[in-house]
């Protein structure tokens, strides 16, 4: 008996004499996993919002037709198999027998059709697929058919995509919801069932093992591929916003897993024998400096290029993860290091000795005469906040007439949407970071888009990037894709829709008795108590 139990026993004896404790049947501790996620789960609809926390919730509750393995190839999940016909312009997918939703209803092909149609409205990959799609139809309860205008080599990869939004399958009645409206229920066919009756947003999210889930017999477990075997009867997400409190709770064993501890606590945990700290995913996240291409000074390509000699990827990365070289990678280009399209092509302006003086001279040559610029950034999100501070220092040292505006993230996301000039509240530069899977390939890679008014915030018009992106979708094989990726990176480094600032690992901390975690986003199959 520990001291707390002793104290509790003594106090309870006297204090609860008149208030008998309600006996509650608690599952044994080793059947429950208590987890502190990176953020609060506010929305339950992983198609409506692209928030990573909702994606992770989606991975618990929903399943996909295909999963993606560590080799970035698609593997069947809900699908039993597929057949390509008519020069790859027709693809028929057959569902595994016996799949059921959490409400007990069978999973039918029409559910998949409705879910994919909704997903195609919100996902960049899905939108591209929609442009080549003639028809998507359910042939019967277990078969759905894609009829394409032209072959789409990435079809199965798209259906197993790990980019947000992931093409999760939900019942037709929910999937018919307008994609810009939120689905009100979380009914999926995944390994865990969402307990709506215990959901308290901002405090507690509970999942229960779905007894009727039958894992795919195909493949080995990696990323979202292979059998999803749930080893816990119950998973509780405890929303603890305060890092110190979450760290203490992990140390005392009140929680089992703390998804995203800040660097100072990682060092503390590293000294504990009961806690292990590891990269949540071997793939690193990407840091980004984004320019506003609509207004001076960075609507001028020469101005964007001029600052490059002063940009130190390493400085930015150290601000996020500290000085441990194993925690970050630089130089890093447009695509996530360690993935097939990653390349060093065209990165010369970001390598070699850094020189603020050289950048200053280039700025003058480009015609910079103390025009104002505005850097906007947050204070409440670790990576963008750290990047903003390093960036502010760089622009100061460059002698630029900078207005630094730091607010909370909620204000930044509103302000960066403004296309107005500086005098009417606009902006020149902001910093942010993306998850590793967002930079896997050109499909979901927003900062490399060059489609002007429809591009991601900053709105660069770079037709060459759009041509290359289109070409990538129809590239016949990986070698061709790699060549296009090199061209994309060279074009990015020349036109500078943004500046890649390197890659850094995101670490996670958990009790040492947890083993067999699947590397990737926080996923709860495979993991068990050793």
């Amino acid at each position: 008996m520990d001291r707390r139990s002793l104290l509790a026993g003594g106090m309870a004896l006297g204090a609860t004499a008149a208030l008998p404790r309600v006996a509650t049947a608690q599952p044994a501790r080793n059947r429950i996993l208590r987890f502190v996620p990176q953020a609060n789960l506010t929305s339950l609809d992983p198609i409506w919002t692209t928030a990573y926390i909702t994606r992770n919730h989606g991975l618990m509750v929903f399943d996909t037709l295909y999963g993606t393995g560590r080799d970035f190839q698609p593997y069947p999940q809900m699908a039993e198999g597929h057949v390509f016909e008519q020069d790859n312009k027709v693809c028929t997918i057959t569902l595994r027998a016996g799949l059921r939703f959490h409400d007990g209803e069978p999973v039918r092909a029409i559910d998949c059709v409705a879910s994919l149609q909704r997903w195609m409205r919100r996902s960049p990959m899905g939108q591209k697929l929609a442009t080549v799609l003639d028809e998507l139809a359910a042939l019967d309860d277990r078969r759905l058919r894609f009829t394409l205008k032209q072959p789409f080599p990435l079809l199965l990869s798209a259906l197993g995509s790990v980019n947000t939004p992931i093409p999760f399958i939900m019942p037709e009645r929910l999937a018919r919801t307008d994609p810009f409206q939120q689905v009100r229920e979380a009914i999926g066919s995944g390994p865990y069932r969402f307990k709506a009756d215990e959901f308290n947003s901002g405090s507690l999210v509970v999942y229960e093992k779905f007894a009727q889930y039958s894992p795919t017999p195909v493949g080995t477990r990696s990323l979202t591929a292979g059998p999803k075997v749930a080893n816990f009867d119950r998973v509780e997400w405890l929303i603890i916003t305060d890092a110190a409190t979450a760290a203490s709770a992990l140390q005392t064993g009140e929680i089992d897993w703390y998804e995203q501890p800040t660097p100072e606590y990682r060092q503390l945990f590293a000294r504990s024998r009961q806690i292990k700290v590891e990269a949540i995913d071997p793939l690193p996240n990407g840091a980004v400096l984004r320019f506003n291409h609509l207004h001076p000074p960075f609507n001028d390509k020469r101005m964007r290029q001029a600052i490059l000699p002063a940009v130190s990827q390493e400085d930015h990365l150290i601000a996020i993860v500290g000085t441990d070289r194993a925690m970050y990678q630089a130089p890093t280009g447009v695509f996530t290091p360690g993935t097939p399209l990653a390349t060093q092509a065209g990165l010369e302006p970001l390598t070699g000795p850094r020189s603020v003086d050289r950048a200053r001279a280039l700025l003058r040559e480009a015609g910079y005469t103390n025009q104002p610029m505005r850097l906007i950034g947050p204070t409440d999100i670790l990576a963008p906040a750290a990047l903003t501070q390093v960036g502010a220092d760089m622009f100061r040292r460059l002698g630029m007439n900078m207005d630094l505006v730091v607010t909370d993230w909620g204000t930044v996301v509103q302000r960066r949407a403004s296309r107005e000039p500086l005098e009417r509240g606009g902006w020149s530069v902001f910093y942010t970071a993306f998850g590793s899977y967002d930079f896997l390939d050109p499909a979901g890679h927003f900062p490399i888009r060059g489609n002007g008014a429809n591009a991601w915030f900053g709105w660069p018009t770079i037709p060459r990037l759009e041509e290359l992106r289109d070409a990538w979708f129809t590239a016949p094989n990986l070698d061709a894709q790699k060549r296009i990726a090199e061209d994309i990176q060279r074009t990015v480094m020349d036109e500078l829709p943004y500046v890649p600032l390197g890659s850094y690992l995101s670490m996670t901390a958990m009790r040492t008795d947890l083993v067999d975690r699947v590397a990737g986003p926080a996923m709860f199959w495979g993991i068990r108590r050793g």
Partner: protein, 313 residues
């Protein structure tokens, strides 16, 4: 008296109307966009616009305000932009932890601060008085979150006597409920204890100089009787006033305390809603807090008559 109570209750209506207008207007002009937060980092501006339209955030100020007021008059606080849950349900889920924290803090603070203040006044100028006043200065000076972290470090992490975080509903048992509230209540109550102790001491010092106290002493009344029956009752009006004012302090402090100890109360709900710009939730919670504060003030006013029969309404 009855007429006074009815009048005061009716007076809350214009007060709440002003609060409603103020809160709505403040949020309307404040920067931030829930549609952009929902859409995520990868969303296109068009996506954000469509979400904004679907949430009705593109409607003019007066239309939105009118719809909100109309809903409130029908007892509907609206629906959270993010969770899609009714605001009243979210408040219901969160009210017990906050109420529990405030009640335990209030009981702790009053039961510690009043005797301390009386003791300091009785032993004025001695080391006891100095110790109490030093504690008060210290408690005033150290922020609530620092006290919280210190307590959690000592009593949870080092001694393992109490949990670091969380809340257990009262229905799960008295001790599980209380054990989660002890540290937060001490942290939150420290400033409150200091405030009440200082006011109690000052008021008691004044009362103890009064003629009727001298008379009581002359009649041979005991020290305890003089302090707690004669003096404290006559010093009660300012003390009760400070306790009432302190409720606002508690509401503000609860926001921080609930974050430090991960208590799923209204304070946390408010902070989360503000960071996400979940307007209906912010408006609902602020209205509730304002209403509670108005009612507490009314209760304090009524308590005056109990302690001082000369006060009539």
């Amino acid at each position: 008296m009855f007429a006074y109570v009815v009048r005061r209750i009716l007076a809350t209506i214009p007060v709440m109307a002003v609060v409603a207008l103020f809160v709505f207007s403040l949020l309307y002009i404040a920067p931030g966009d829930p549609a952009a937060v929902i859409a995520g980092d990868q969303a296109t501006p068009e996506d954000v616009e469509r979400i904004r339209a679907s949430l009705g955030l593109d409607r003019p100020y007066l239309v939105r305000f009118g719809a909100w007021v109309w809903d409130i008059m029908r007892g509907d606080l609206g629906v959270s932009i993010f969770t899609n849950l009714p605001v009243s349900t979210m408040i219901q889920q969160r009210i017990e932890p906050t109420l529990s924290l405030m009640v335990v803090t209030l009981l702790l603070a009053v039961s510690v601060a009043v005797p301390l203040g009386v003791l300091a006044a009785w032993k004025v100028g001695t080391w006891v008085d100095n110790a109490v006043m030093s504690f008060a200065v210290l408690a005033f000076s150290v922020p609530v979150f620092v006290v919280g972290y210190l307590l959690a470090y000592i009593f949870a992490l080092e001694l393992d006597w109490l949990p670091v975080q969380g809340y257990t509903a009262f229905s799960q048992g008295f001790w599980p409920w209380l054990e989660n509230l002890i540290l937060p209540a001490i942290a939150l109550g420290s400033v409150y204890i200091a405030l009440i102790a200082r006011i109690t001491r000052a008021t008691m010092l004044e009362v103890l100089q009064q003629d009727y106290i001298r008379t009581a002493r002359a009649k041979g009344a005991g020290q305890r009787s003089i302090l707690f029956l004669h003096a404290l009752k006559n010093a009660a009006v300012p003390i009760v006033t400070v306790i009432g004012i302190g409720i606002a302090l508690l509401i503000g402090g609860a926001v921080v305390t609930e974050s430090v100890f991960a208590i799923p109360g209204l304070g946390r709900l408010t902070v989360d809603a503000i960071l996400r710009r979940d307007y209906p939730v912010i408006q609902g919670v602020v209205l509730l807090f304002s209403f509670v504060y108005v009612l507490v003030n009314l209760a304090i006013d009524l308590l005056y008559t109990l302690f001082d029969p000369r006060i009539r309404y």
